[in-house]
């Protein structure tokens, strides 16, 4: 069976979705609070996978640093907080953001909730799904400065047309595709890349000044139109 037929049998589909609300509601507040030194808290887990939040942390630093932010090392943060008895995101809900300025020197706190981290197995179609909610809160004003939600779904589908050999073959390929995607990390990285692309550039990005001018100007025009 030629490789062309094999490719036709298995279709890989990546679906991405995000919330329609603008991630930044007030650019003036954003730049006034300058949330550029960020402490990323241990992830709040709403999934059944107890290990997922710790693994997910490994995917956060790179895209934020590439957007020009100073990200306080995530593992050290998690270990220090665990030593203080604050090991998971749920336990941190009652700690006010200003405490992270006091102890970590952070301008902002990144709260992440892991909403989906699932694999759905089936003979002819399987899917791997990750979904996260992100919220950046100022340690100066306590205001939510940026908030978004992203979901990434990888679906492997077959189009075997009912032929028994093709069904068996596509089932085997599906299993291989699902197994290789099952550690979720590459998908989480993609979802983060898309989420953080909506975060205004930080001061270590060459785009910082340009984006700041554009964002403030856009907001000013929008207010003038609405008045």
């Amino acid at each position: 069976m030629s490789s062309r037929i094999l490719i036709a049998l298995v279709g890989l589909l990546t679906l991405v979705s995000c919330v329609s609300k603008p991630p930044v509601s007030d650019y003036e507040q954003f730049y006034k609070d300058s949330p550029f030194t960020v402490v990323v808290l241990p992830v709040n887990n709403e999934t059944a996978d107890a290990e997922a939040p710790r693994y997910f942390l490994s995917t956060i630093t790179q895209p934020m640093v590439d957007r020009g932010y100073y990200v306080i090392p995530v593992q050290a943060t998690a270990d220090i907080l665990a030593a203080e008895g604050l090991a998971d995101g749920g336990a941190l809900v009652d700690v006010t953001p200003d405490r992270f300025r006091e102890f970590f020197g952070a301008d902002a706190v990144m709260y992440i909730t892991l909403k989906k981290w699932d694999t759905n197995y089936a003979i002819l179609a399987s899917s791997v799904e990750v979904a996260m909610h992100y919220r950046l809160v100022s340690t100066v004003s306590g205001a939510v400065l940026w908030e978004t939600e992203h979901q990434q779904v990888l679906v492997s589908q077959s189009g075997s047309g009912g032929h028994p050999i093709a069904i068996l073959l596509t089932a085997a390929i599906n299993a291989a595709v699902t197994a290789s995607a099952s550690d979720y990390i590459p998908m989480a990285m993609q979802a983060n890349q898309q989420a953080f692309a909506t975060l205004p550039a930080g001061p270590y990005s060459p785009r910082f000044d340009l984006e700041k001018r554009q964002n403030l100007l856009r907001q000013e025009r929008s207010r003038a139109v609405n008045q």
Partner: protein, 123 residues
């Protein structure tokens, strides 16, 4: 055969990646395994990012010198850790408070054995 081609393609792709592109998976392995080998491997990747930046006369990427310091502490390389923390402070003054906190916390860490070093500890 097909599987071998796939593995080979993955290896070629991996070999073409920069240390910064490898960073998330390296950190993932360190967080997942928590073995001396995985921690030592991530420490080596951080060393590469850190050393190459300094050799170019540039600052390491934000937070990398502090993370390198933390992993150095884990492996018992205290002198290296303190040196990296100084680089972080001078490169990113906003890190001063965190560096102070990290130093206080890391002094209490019990180092693990470094499999890459026969002497395994202090430099």
């Amino acid at each position: 055969m097909r599987r071998s081609v796939g593995i080979l393609a993955s290896l070629v792709l991996c070999a073409c990646q920069t240390s910064w592109q490898k960073y998330p998976m390296s950190l993932y392995e360190a967080l997942k395994e928590e073995t001396p080998q995985a921690i030592s491997a991530h420490h080596a990747l951080l060393a590469d990012l850190y050393d190459k930046a300094l050799a170019r006369g540039a600052n390491p990427k934000a937070g990398i010198a502090a993370e390198y310091a933390y992993y150095s502490w884990m492996l018992g390389k205290r002198a290296l850790a303190k040196q990296a923390l100084e680089v972080e402070r001078s490169s990113y003054p906003e890190s001063a408070k965190f560096c102070q906190l990290l130093e206080r916390y890391a002094e209490g860490i019990r180092p693990i054995a470094d499999p890459s070093s026969a002497e395994g500890g202090e430099q």
